[in-house]
């Protein structure tokens, strides 16, 4: 029943499909730029992650939510959502293991450790945010099946 409603909301439009096909790589590049370049200019993992996640949402609007959902796959989203938390925890707690404080990048003993460490952490934040934003979109689009709940 909810799937019928979803099909009704999707309109296959060559204009939207072509536009998204042209624009999507640039949006993804911009999202990654905002993520990577957060150390030098405005932006960072949170903003870049949302922009990168918006690429998937754009594809879903152009090609339909169900095909995009199957194309992306739930494991990719789960890995992205978890990886940011794991990267942050490993970088942060690793410094404690090496005898420093939480996120004390300098104990890693490489050149520009804090700069690279910050960028790694920002990328992790971006992965989590992009994964969760996309997941929220797919979950809300799938909606809530009242009958399933009654059976449960």
């Amino acid at each position: 029943m909810s799937s019928e409603g979803r099909e009704a909301t999707y309109v296959e439009s060559p204009i939207i499909m072509t536009t998204v096909r042209v624009v999507a790589p640039f949006v993804l590049a911009f999202g990654l730029f905002v993520m990577f370049h957060g150390a030098e200019s405005a932006g960072g993992g949170f903003q870049g992650g949302v922009i990168a996640g918006a690429v998937i949402i754009m594809l879903a609007f152009a090609y339909g939510i169900e095909p995009t959902r199957e194309w992306v796959g739930s494991s990719l989203l789960a890995i992205a959502a978890v990886s940011g938390v794991v990267v942050f925890a490993v970088v942060g707690l690793g410094a404690i293991v090496l005898g420093g404080g939480f996120l004390e990048y300098s104990v890693y003993g490489i050149d520009h450790a804090s700069k690279y460490g910050i960028e790694l952490v920002e990328l992790g934040i971006g992965a989590t945010v992009a994964g969760v934003i996309t997941a929220l979109f797919f979950l809300l689009a799938a909606g809530f099946d009242a009958e399933e709940v009654d059976e449960a």
């Binding site: 918006a54 942060g92 700069k115 920002e122 989590t128 929220l136 979109f137 709940v149």
Partner: protein
């Protein structure tokens, strides 16, 4: 005092906020809310807070609008008999009192760019601005504070974002993200 652009934006934001509160059609409300977020994000740019502006534009005007649209796509749109919501006095009184209480604190805020404001005069700000580049090697002080000085808070924020996804799984009784 106020530049014409800023005054226009402030009026625009207040009008879109009122429209968001008053309109009855949910789709129109979502569009008005997106316009409100866009106006706020331009105000952040004018106040020279590009990081906040980028967040407001991406999350407030972008992601939030899409998530709300996807949600109301599940609902049935009732043919509206009225254009605006009926205004009830008691919620209006509560909202008015809240706005007055918040508004009463505004004169206590320092002027924008006031050199004697606590945030400028405080030693912590000076330390961050003076040492952020030499200590962390990143040019954006906001990022330095976010991912180095206040990294533990940011770690908490990432966990909150992750928890939001997990919470929606629990609410919708699903086990996979897609």
């Amino acid at each position: 005092m106020l530049s014409p652009l800023m005054a226009t934006l402030l009026v625009f934001v207040i009008v879109t906020a009122l429209v968001t509160a008053l309109l009855r059609d949910v789709l129109a409300v979502i569009i008005a809310f997106a316009a409100y977020s866009l106006g706020i994000s331009i105000i952040w740019v004018l106040l020279q807070a590009p990081d906040v502006a980028l967040t407001e534009a991406a999350v407030g005007a972008g992601a939030m609008t899409i998530l709300l649209l996807v949600t109301i796509a599940q609902t049935v749109r009732t043919p509206g008999d009225r254009l605006v919501e009926r205004i009830e006095l008691r919620p209006l009184a509560v909202a008015g009192a809240f706005a007055l209480a918040i508004g009463a604190t505004v004169p206590a805020l320092p002027r924008v760019g006031d050199p004697d404001a606590a945030v400028h005069a405080d030693a912590v700000t000076g330390t961050y601005l003076a040492e952020a580049y030499s200590a962390t090697g990143v040019e954006n002080v906001v990022t330095a504070v976010l991912a180095a000085y206040r990294g533990f808070d940011t770690f908490g924020e990432v966990v909150v974002v992750f928890a939001a996804g997990a919470a929606l799984l629990v609410v919708l009784r699903r086990e996979v993200f897609a």
